[in-house]
Symmetry: C2
Subunit: 191 residues, 2 copies
Amino acid sequence: MGRKRIRDIRNEELIEATVIAVHRRGYSVVTMAEIAREAGASAASINYYFGSKEGLMEATMRHLLNKLKQAMIREYATATTPRERLYAVMNANFDDTLFEVAQCSLWMQFWASAPYSQRLSRLHRINRHRVRSHFLAELRRLLPAEGVETARQALQCYMDGVWLQAAQSDGPLDPTKARLAAHRVVDLVIS
Amino acid sequence: MGRKRIRDIRNEELIEATVIAVHRRGYSVVTMAEIAREAGASAASINYYFGSKEGLMEATMRHLLNKLKQAMIREYATATTPRERLYAVMNANFDDTLFEVAQCSLWMQFWASAPYSQRLSRLHRINRHRVRSHFLAELRRLLPAEGVETARQALQCYMDGVWLQAAQSDGPLDPTKARLAAHRVVDLVIS
DNA sequence: AACTATTTTTTGAATGGCCATTCAAGTTTC
DNA sequence: GAAACTTGAATGGCCATTCAAAAAATAGTT
């Protein structure tokens, strides 16, 4: 128990450090030593906890995906109509806990390297599929069958595109504004 | 004259090889030796022509941006109305010469690493700005002032998002279909 | 055409540095 | 005292880049 707790604390610290270090230096060039320094630990201890650099990256990805899942649950709890549930998907993706430069940056780096890592691409596929299902379920209730796929693609691509741009931003992001803009896009698409 | 020609031929061969090799192995792990083998040359000769790995990557990026520029010119030549010019932007981005998996993949890798390289981020900024201007110019003629920015963001993010998804695809892409879908999104946004 | 000089191109091998991972030996926690 | 945790230093491999020397193309000369 006490033992478990220490492990969890370290895990979280190291993952936080990974987000920061990868954002600062780039996924492809960041070193274990840099991440370790950011966390106030040693490179060796990261391997003790995560087995390898790839293991750390996978854990970090899981951490972000989990945040997204939590946000989804929160948002869906109060959404009742199809339109509200579309808003909910957007709200979750642009949640205050997720929509910040360092995390968007990391997300994009993962995207870029997912095709070259079994472990990452699996996570990536699962997540994409879940978002897709959510969109489809609501859109089917709002649009004629032949318009559903176009609308879904428009929304999902928009979402991805916003993350992509956010990752390039040099100032801090405004999640509230992002959510509002996303609502307007939803309205546009289902009007 | 003759001298120039050889250099250009090599440049093109090496850039083609770079696209293929980076797509196959990933930007962060591909080695000079792999690119060289793909081109039937040696790693040393790449340095002879491009100075460094980063130089090669920049040249490859320039090559893609140039393709995009050519496509834009081609498409704009026949577009007369604002709506047609919006179509033209989309057509250029999803042109047959550009919209294929290996190139989308490369594009995304550049996106991800642009923030960490002066030379790449400069190219990236210029390109993004150009696309932005094109969209704005046409949208201002079609929409009330307060709707322009939302529409522009929706279109530009959509475009980025499609590229992003295309890069993950395992089958070949269908540029014609992509252009049609993009037209529908344009229609949706300016309706 | 033939031959040479000059420039351009190509490459194998060496260089030097970097970095993930391992490990043995400590330190802390229970 | 045992198990969990931590780390400095060593290991081993990899890779971009350089360099010197060869090969190929080109120009110049007769």
